[in-house]
């Protein structure tokens, strides 16, 4: 039973990866959005240096809004292509949720690994704790991916989808965003408090369990 679920999750993950590599649009839009926002901020700063706290907040605001455009595509693309029905016939709810969610988590983490160095160079910010910064990014992007997958499934069939995901996501992601900003600021100054990271991982775990429990109600509509 567990082996078959694992294989089903893997199949959905591979399907997502193949479609994403073939079309490129999903991640290219996220990357270009982030780079445009980054260069805009850097341009307007005119070489001024931000305080570590402000630099961390700015980084997470840019990451949040740019990754959001990718995180919400999970089910909207399926709906547009008309493949949502086929997926609901062949895929079990948990396989679809975790296949799509984990692929989105990998994609968002990879994109953040491209965006963050550009930000650090443009804003002239030094990092004193690389390991912690990577763990913070990992936890933040994972939470964003899992919440984004569930919420984009909620939005399938909604009338006005533009901007809706950011409205739905912000309250849900605040318990991750706030500690992520504190941790990132700590990475920029060297004054680190790791307990926030434990809180982020805990919240990620609770969100995963909640998404898993709630997704069944959405997937198996009577």
């Amino acid at each position: 039973m567990h082996a078959s679920l694992y294989r089903a999750v893997e199949a959905v993950f591979r399907k997502e990866a193949r479609i994403s590599l073939r079309s490129r649009s999903s991640w290219l839009v996220v990357l270009m959005f982030a780079l445009t926002t980054l260069s805009c901020v850097s341009l307007l700063m005119q070489g001024d240096v931000l305080s570590p706290r402000l630099a961390a907040a700015m980084l997470w605001v840019i990451l949040f809004f740019s990754l959001l455009s990718g995180a919400g595509r999970g089910f909207a693309d399926e709906e547009q292509a008309g493949t949502l029905m086929a997926l609901s016939v062949y895929g079990s709810s948990q396989a679809v949720l975790f296949g799509k969610g984990l692929f989105m988590a990998v994609l968002l983490f990879a994109l953040s690994l491209l965006i963050v160095p550009v930000y650090l160079v443009l804003m002239d910010v030094a990092v004193f704790a690389w390991g912690l910064l990577l763990l913070t990014l990992l936890s933040g992007t994972y939470g964003m991916a899992m919440a984004g997958t569930l919420l984009s499934a909620l939005m399938a069939g909604a009338r006005a989808q533009n901007g809706l995901l950011s409205i739905l996501m912000l309250p849900v992601l605040l318990p991750i965003l706030l500690p992520a900003i504190v941790l990132t600021a700590g990475c920029f100054t060297g004054d680190v408090n790791g307990s926030y990271l434990v809180g982020m991982f805990l919240y990620d775990a609770i969100m995963t369990i909640a998404a898993s429990l709630l997704f069944d109600f959405l997937w198996y509509e009577d």
């Binding site: 006005a160 309250p171 500690p179 909640a210 709630l214 109600f217």
Partner: protein, 216 residues
């Protein structure tokens, strides 16, 4: 049934009139806050009902998912709609109190932030309801969102006070578990909490009944 509802409204009217008298004539000015303390007898009850309405909305969302009855969805939605009104009142009265005591309407105090997040959740929930046309899907989707967003609240209660510095007066029931308040003030506060809760219950019953009457 109708006479029961009328009785409830009569009780609310009496209680509100008595409370207005008590707040302006019986409650003594507070140490440090003076007459401004009177705002608290409106602010604390509306903030309490804002949270209560959110709990009721989430509870009926859960009940809807377990047994999809139209009534549960109606209670959840109406409670959220009432909740957003109460949360706006709590935010505005808090901002006025903040301006008069700390000199600024808004300064991201932990309690201001928590109530603001509650406002965001309510707004997101109601926006989601407004963009889904199919009634059954709307009910299911909004129930899932209500429960998912409900998870954030305990985390925010722990995280936000560590993230923002607070000027807010200590809660009535403080950290040591003791109640540090003038006895008259405490009684008036408890009565105003009861009054606002009754107003919420009466409005909830009235709205649910009229909405279900309109849809059937």
């Amino acid at each position: 049934m109708k006479s029961c509802e009328k009785g409830l409204w009569a009780l609310i009217l009496l209680l509100t009139a008595g409370l207005l008298y008590a707040v302006f004539f019986l409650v003594p000015p507070a140490e440090g806050l003076g007459n401004l303390v009177r705002i608290a007898f409106f602010h604390i009850p509306v903030a309490w009902v804002a949270v209560l309405a959110f709990l009721v909305s989430a509870w009926y969302a859960l009940r809807y998912l377990r047994r999809p009855a139209e009534r549960f969805d109606a209670i959840s939605a109406v409670s959220a709609r009432l909740g957003i009104i109460f949360v706006v009142f709590a935010t505005l009265s808090g901002a006025v109190f903040s301006k008069l005591t700390w000199g600024a309407y808004w300064n991201w105090d932990p309690r201001q932030t928590t109530i603001f997040v509650l406002l965001l959740i309510y707004a997101a929930y109601l926006t989601l309801r407004s963009v889904i046309a199919d009634e059954r899907r709307r009910a299911r989707v909004s129930a899932i969102y209500a429960l998912f967003s409900f998870l954030t609240v305990p985390f925010l209660v722990f995280i936000i006070p560590r993230f923002y510095f607070s000027l807010h007066p200590a809660p009535v029931l403080n950290g040591s578990g003791s109640i540090d308040m003038d006895p008259v003030m405490l009684r008036v506060l408890l009565a105003s909490l009861l009054d606002m809760t009754l107003i919420y219950i009466a409005l909830l019953c009235h709205r649910v009944k009229s909405e279900r009457g309109a849809s059937s």
